[in-house]
Every structure is written in C-alpha cells, then in structure tokens.
Subunit: 245 residues, 2 copies
DNA sequence: GTCTATAATCAGATAGAC
DNA sequence: GTCTATCTGATTATAGAC
C-alpha cells in the first residue's frame, strides 16, 4: 500500500557533500525560504534554479509526483537534466522545495488575516476568506491540486505537508467559523465537515480543468468564471440554493 | 504538456492475436460488461481476472494511472505479472476495464433516478441525488478519486471517460436542478458551477482520507461520519450556513 | 553552474514451457 | 490459464569535463 509510494524514501537521502542544502531539516521560516527563493530568482534573469522550480511546480501539479519526469522539468525550464539534480539533488527534495515555495504564497494570502480582518465581523470575515480561497485556487490550481493529489494516502510527504503547512492554513477558517457559531449567526454544523466541504467546493472546479472544458465548454481560467464561482459558492455557503419566501 | 501524458499511447495497441478481447471498441452496454465480469468472478472462487480487476481499481485510485505499476497490481492480486497482460493486454486497457466496471456501479446507483423518482418533487429529488452521491463517494472513494485524478488534464483517457460515462451521470442532477429553477424554488445560479461545487463538496472529504485523519482525527469511513457529511452538505446546499431569523 | 556521457534501476510487455 | 525467464525502453541519478 504505502510501500509503493514510499519507494523513493527507501534509499535514504544520503546527505553527502553537496554544494547547497537549501532545504535544511531545521525548517526555516517561510520568510527565510521566500527571501532565498526571490534572491536567487531575481539575480539577473530568472536564474536556472528558479526556472526549474517553476517548471517543477507545473509538472508536479499536472502529473502528480510519480507521473512527473525530471527530464521533462529540465526541458520545460530550458536547462539540461543533470542541472535539476545539481540544484535539488533528488526528485523528492525538489518536490518539497516546490511545495515549500508554493505554500509560502498560500500563507502570504492568508497570513495576518486574523489581524488584518480583526475589525470586520466574523460573518463578513468568513466570506472574505472563502472568496480569497476561491481566487487562490483559481490562480494557483497547481497548489490545491497538489494537495488533493497528496491528501489521499498517508505518505511521509503528506505528514510533512500537514505538520508544516495545513495546520496553520485552516486555523483562520476554523476560528472564524467558531466565532460565528458562538455569536449565533452560524448554524452549529460540524466544523471539520464544513471546512473540507468548502475546500472541495472551492477548488474542485479548478482541478478538473480539462473535464469542465469537455462537459460544459467552460474555461475555468477566465476571470469571469472565477468570480462566478466565488459568487456562487458564497451564496450557497451562506444562504443555500433555496429561494427564501 | 499533454505529450507526456500521452506517451503510452504512441505505440498503438497493435490489435494482434490475443485470446480475448473483453473490451471491444464497439462500446458494449453497461449490462453486458457487468454480466461478463460477474460471470468470470463467480465462476469458482474469485477468479484471477476478477482479483486483478479489484486490485487494479485500488491501485489506480490510490496512485493514479502513471503512479500505478502493473507488477504491484499482480502482487496485490496474488498472481504473477504476466497474467495481468494475458487478461488485459496493456495497462491502458486494464485501466479502461477498471473504469468500465467501477462506473457501472455508479450508473447502477443513478440510472433510472429519472423514472424511479418521477413522483417526487424536484426539490426532494435533488436532495436524494445529493445524498446518494455522498454515500456513493464514501462507499467507492476509488471511483470518485479516479475521476478527480483524471479530470485534471486532457488525455485520451479523459475524453473516453467523459464521452462514455460522465455525460450520462450528470444529466439527472442538471435536469432536476433546471426543473427547480423553472419551478422557482431554486435560485438561478449557474448550473455548471453548482454541479462541480457540489461534486467537490461531496467527494473531497473521502479523497482526502489521510489528511482528515491527520488534521481532525476523523475516520471518514465510519457510517456516522458519512451521514454527518451528507446532512451537512444537504443543509448547506439548500439553506446555507446562516441561521435565518 | 552548466554541460555531455553514462551508469543503475525499473517498468511494461513478450516468449515459451507446463 | 498460469508460470519462469527475459527483452526493450525509459527514467533517476552520477561522473567528470569545461
């Protein structure tokens, strides 16, 4: 079962000599990672390392971990294959670097919501969070898609993802929801279900890009479509489908 | 982009001699396929072919098409690797056989909804369809998971899936919704968005099994959890989170 | 830091005996 | 129908020159 997914972990990363260890095991802050990435990226032109990272994000999102070939990443980044290994050593470490960078952006979109939105009532705050998440899912389908792909089974990658990122990300949502329930405007429905229901409702469209194009000839990338989805979701989440008399 | 995913289609199936061609290109009815499968399965003990099919469903659902190894399927089914190829010839044909069988079950759960539920009003009918879909997602996470995995990018597999199955599956939902909008009780929100919103909301929890266990220590397999999810979704879908005064 | 060339591994598929 | 043994091609990763 999990054995298969773990295959690549069998051979331990063998922390040998290697010029750079960008991903330290000491879990640097998001800020640190983001800055490091930016520094490298904006050095001259988008440096090779940054291009590899970008290409890798697209590939992992589209084809999943196992479906992605590092050679294809290299091709997309316009570099040769070995350079990928020079910068990231293994496919697994490259994956982690991708997630680190991608979720940094997700954090950026949500961090400080608590303080920034302090003056707004919990009801409006929740609406804002939902809309933000829809827009984020639309702008970075690769990130949510990645999480959908990984959330299915218990791999070391998932545990790392949850420990490091997911916990912090769902907190604003859950706290706002809890506030709403305390205040009485929100029904006392189970929060875990509400959370995942909302995440699924918000992001599924943007993961099923190809299917929507085939079934409804709908381009989920178009801004109008994105806003339509956000509007629909907020309306449903807050007031439901039934037209009140 | 798609080139990568299509790689395995480059070498054409080379329809040589081969004892059996279970998957004819003439698209047999679901009934035909289901019967054929059952015949083989219940012959004595669960025959090798049936065991391979079961193992393949689990593997494809868990690891996606590219992430699945036919040798692992063989191992799980307790047979040797070549037998997989004997029965299904190629990995791609095996995948199609799996989907054919799995979506046969989904059809079974929804076929005839139109007639069977004719006497029920469109509003109750929609509730029933949503609940059915939640339960189906819970009982067969592999099926929805499989569709999530394939819906992302435009492969020959996805086109086949949409043409052959998805169209028929979403029709009852869309028709009932349209009826509700005509009758006036349902708000005139865009149906495509409502459909995918609902599908995502219903099925995401059951795809993110491992993540829910890690974040909320919730076992989404438990019947109580399933019903709780169905209840929550129906309440949200129809009346929303806000407690009306 | 980036390349060419190559080693090592692994996966899908076939041949042919029983 | 099922097995053992094997081929072919593709993919990750490394060595070593520039």
């Amino acid at each position: 079962m999990t054995v298969q997914a773990n295959r690549r972990f069998v051979k331990p990363p063998s922390a040998t000599r290697h010029a750079r260890a960008r991903l330290t095991p000491s879990l640097p802050s998001f800020a640190t990672v983001a800055t490091a990435a930016r520094r490298t990226a904006s050095a001259d032109a988008p440096g090779a390392r940054a291009r590899i990272l970008t290409a890798a994000r697209a590939q992992f999102a589209e084809h999943g971990y196992e479906g992605t070939r590092t050679a294809e990443i290299a091709r997309q980044a316009g570099v040769t294959h070995p350079l990928v290994h020079y910068h990231f050593r293994t496919k697994d470490l490259l994956w982690r670097a991708v997630v680190e960078e991608a979720l940094g952006r997700l954090h950026a979109a949500f961090d400080g919501s608590a303080t920034e939105l302090r003056d707004v009532g919990s009801r409006e705050r929740l609406k804002i969070l939902v809309r933000r998440f829809v827009r984020f899912s639309a702008e970075h389908p690769d990130v949510t898609h990645l999480m959908i792909r990984e959330g299915a089974h218990d791999t070391p990658r998932l545990r790392w993802l949850v420990r490091r990122h997911v916990g912090a990300l769902i907190r604003p949502f859950e706290e706002t929801l809890a506030a709403g329930q305390r205040e009485g405007w929100a029904k006392p429905l189970p929060r875990a279900h509400l959370l995942f229901l909302c995440v699924g409702a918000a992001s599924y469209v943007f993961s099923a890009t190809a299917m929507l194009r085939l079934t409804h000839e709908l381009d989920v990338r178009a801004p109008a479509t994105i806003e339509a989805h956000a509007d629909t979701l907020v309306e449903i989440m807050f007031h439901g489908l039934v037209r009140e008399p």
